[in-house]
């Protein structure tokens, strides 16, 4: 097994990993408990339905407005940040983003990086890349730290170690942190982690963070967190590098307020987080603290593909609260790792095909009952089921078909056999005569209904047609047409 067992897993093995997760009772209990807890917390935050719905309308409108003006806002953001002394870098791919961060470290003769929480850095596999170039990265968000010690990837975008229980953490700390006896006392575990990390903040040459929102009109980076590790990562080391997906820009400072309210209430059921950091420049002359240099890496990595399509663009409205995961019947049963992608759950199913291509992630849009629990709680009203259906069509599309702007990996899940099934199906159901014949056969020959029905009978008794169809019964009754 590689040093990073959860890294570079192909999302194509989704079914197999899902099966493994379903068989893991401990894992399922962890997720069920966490989902119930988080759902209840969110519910309590939104007890006023009218307020919730109008806030969601507002959040959705703000994000749509930002996306409608994305190129202009990004240019404005770059201008403002630059004027504020923050250096802006554009990365079209994960490789470019990694190289930019490495270059910043090398120019500063840096070796050690302390990381606040950043899913964008997970997406580009930054730790792995920097590790290969002799750099040492330490995650400072407690969940991320636990996951890093375990050599895994986050299983949730907001609560990365949600799949771990107290005993798992106790074992990891005992094994990896010197002089740490095994204990399942949560307060003690947190103190242990805190002590171990405190040292790392002081030693770090570079701090890396994500960004929740970047404000174009003022050139401000918003960072929301609960542990204070984000503030330490962005203020103690002499260099701060922030990395964000290019869609996270918003037009005005005022626009952030409702989004923050939606984000914290939807994510963890908190009215507000313990910390939020507004970063608008490096240390100014005369100031006693703060980094000497601040950089922002703006990451595309497939996002412009979603942006280019009017319907798929709404994917980029996401503010990464994770509520869709917390309410998803599939995610709640299989957990985050089964997806094999940085972003799991419903948002992962609609975002990963752009980041990785439909050839790599094309199975994921099919792993949904389309129940709509995700879009019902989405704070910015992303119509996730509609996007899943659209991506299913694109994944199944005949590869020989030419379309104006094909998606990466389009047609990768095309199956001639399945196409034949649907052709037969549509042939039968579009012709009243064919459907009548099929009904006749199914009802009159019901004694011969197969006892094993692909997939269905693994967990259910077989479906058996009735002796007479509704068509027949109503004809007998003389029902008018």
């Amino acid at each position: 097994m590689s040093k990073h067992p959860m890294q570079f897993v192909p999302s194509a093995d989704f079914k197999e990993r899902a099966r493994g997760a379903l068989d893991d009772d401990k894992l399922r209990k962890s997720f069920r408990g966490a989902m119930d807890f988080l759902q209840a917390k969110r519910r309590n935050q939104f007890s006023d339905e009218e307020e919730r719905e109008s806030l969601r309308d507002l959040g959705s409108a703000i994000r749509k407005y930002a996306l409608a003006n994305l190129p202009d806002l990004l240019e404005q953001l770059e201008r403002k940040l630059t004027a504020n002394g923050i250096q802006v870098h554009w990365a079209e791919t994960a490789a470019e983003a990694n190289a930019i961060v490495l270059d910043i470290m090398q120019r500063n003769a840096a070796r050690r990086m302390i990381k606040g929480k950043s899913m964008a850095s997970e997406e580009i596999e930054l730790n792995h890349y920097l590790g290969e170039h002799g750099m040492e990265c330490v995650e400072s968000d407690m969940g991320e730290y636990i996951v890093q010690l375990a050599g895994e990837k986050p299983s949730h975008i907001v609560m990365p170690a949600i799949h771990k229980n107290k005993a798992d953490v106790a074992k990891l700390f005992e094994e990896h942190i010197p002089d740490t006896p095994y204990t399942e006392d949560v307060d003690e575990l947190i103190q242990t982690g805190r002590r171990a990390l405190r040292q790392r903040f002081m030693e770090a040459d570079v701090g890396l963070s994500g960004v929740n929102f970047a404000v174009a009109e003022t050139g401000t980076l918003w960072l929301i967190e609960n542990e204070g590790n984000g503030r330490l990562s962005t203020t103690v080391p002499p260099v701060h590098v922030a990395i964000m997906g290019m869609e996270k820009v918003v037009a005005k400072l005022d626009h952030v307020v409702p989004l923050v309210s939606l984000l914290t209430r939807s994510a963890t059921g908190q009215a507000v987080t313990t910390y939020f950091n507004l970063i608008s420049s490096p240390r100014r002359p005369g100031e006693l603290d703060g980094p000497r240099e601040v950089h922002l890496v703006l990451l595309d990595n497939g996002r412009s593909q979603a942006y280019a399509d009017e319907q798929l663009r709404s994917t980029l409205q996401c503010i990464r609260c994770g509520a869709c995961m917390n309410h998803c019947p599939v995610y709640g049963r299989i957990g985050g790792h089964a997806y094999g992608t940085t972003y799991p759950g419903p948002i992962g199913k609609i975002l990963s095909p752009h980041l990785l291509g439909l050839d790599e992630a094309g199975d994921l849009p099919f792993a949904s009952t389309l129940c709509g629990a995700c879009s019902e709680v989405c704070p910015v009203r992303i119509p996730i089921p509609d996007l899943l259906i659209r991506l299913r069509n694109e994944a199944k599309r005949n590869p020989n078909e030419t379309v104006a702007t094909p998606l990466r990996g389009q047609g990768a899940k095309h199956s001639a056999a399945e196409r034949v099934v649907w052709q037969f199906w549509s042939g039968a159901f579009k012709s009243p005569k064919a459907w009548a014949a099929l009904r006749w056969g199914a009802t009159r020959l019901r004694a011969f209904t197969p006892g094993a029905q692909a997939g269905w009978t693994q967990h259910r008794t077989p479906l058996k047609p009735a002796p007479r169809s509704l068509h027949d019964l109503l004809k007998d009754k003389g029902q008018p047409e």
Binding site: K15, A18, L22, P329, V330, R333, I334, P365, F366, A367, S368, T369, L370, C371, G372, A373, S375, E376, P385, I389, L391, R392, N393, E394, A395, K396, R419, W422, Q423, W425, S426, F429, K430, S431, P432, W435, R439, A442, T443, A454, G455, W456, T457, H459, R460, T461, K464, P465, A466, R468, S469, L470, H471, D472, L473, L474, K477, Q479, P480, E481
Partner: protein, 256 residues
């Protein structure tokens, strides 16, 4: 889902029977007819109907879905309401047909015009027919209610189902744990991902069984068949009854 305005009680309606009811639960269709006829409405059933196209639509074959949907769209020539005894099929016709035919110069406007005429059965009974069930059987009976997710979200069927059950004397609806959670059916999802689907429906069966009710009522045959056959597979005594059949059953002893 938007708040709908409802028409006054009509003299005629169309019934769209759905393919699942047609083949597997035809009695639910018969009972739907009976409930509407009881209110003096003439129910028309165009014999050329088949399926709303949902299976192909959700499986990523929009073209196959369009072929089947198109074949239904010219069957309902009079301007009467189209009543569907299945929330998810109703949702397909009400919500998704207009999307499926967006940009089609002929079927696009047709889909939009049809969509406003489509009602789920319980919705139609509660808001349009407004029957008086006060003389139905009164002996106490506890049931659980399961509403299809897409139907609940697209057609508001949970509220309609509860209202309809509340209008029946003696019927008590017992809420089960995580009532609003999906039953794991999801059309072809149940075949494509049998393991995940099986795990979800197992929890749903346990949750309904946990109420002590052996019976759940639903207006969606996909969910009903999924939950009932999964319970049967494990030998758990939980079985579903279609809303229309349940209401008919309660009306059976009705004094004339």
């Amino acid at each position: 889902m938007q708040t709908r305005t409802y028409p006054p009680k009509p003299s005629n309606v169309y019934l769209f029977g759905t393919c699942l009811i047609d083949l597997f639960v035809p009695q639910a269709g018969m009972d739907a007819v009976r409930l509407m006829e009881r209110e003096g409405v003439s129910v028309h059933f165009p014999q050329d109907q088949s399926c709303c196209g949902q299976p192909a639509y959700t499986s990523g074959d929009a073209e196959a879905a369009r072929k089947v949907a198109r074949a239904q769209m010219d069957l309902f020539k009079q301007d009467w309401p189209i009543v569907v005894p299945s929330g998810s099929c109703g949702g397909m016709m009400h919500e998704h047909w207009p999307k499926l035919f967006a940009g089609d110069p002929v079927y696009g406007p047709k889909a939009v015009a049809l969509a406003v005429r489509v009602f789920e059965l319980a919705e139609f009974i509660v808001n349009v027919l407004r029957p008086d069930y006060s003389r139905a059987r009164a002996e106490p009976c506890k049931v659980a209610l399961h509403t299809s997710c897409s139907a609940r979200r697209e057609m508001g069927t949970r509220g309609h189902g509860l209202s309809l059950l509340a209008s029946l004397p003696g019927v008590e609806v017992v809420e089960h744990v995580r009532e609003s959670e999906c039953c794991g059916f999801g059309g072809t999802f149940s075949l494509r991902h049998p393991d995940i689907s099986g795990a979800i429906v197992r929890d749903k069966v346990d949750s309904i069984a946990g109420t002590g009710c052996q019976r759940f009522i639903t207006a969606d045959c996909g969910c009903m068949l999924n939950i009932s056959t999964a319970a049967q597979h494990r030998g758990v005594g939980v079985a579903g009854t279609h809303m229309a059949s349940f209401v008919c059953e309660r009306l059976a002893g009705e004094s004339a």
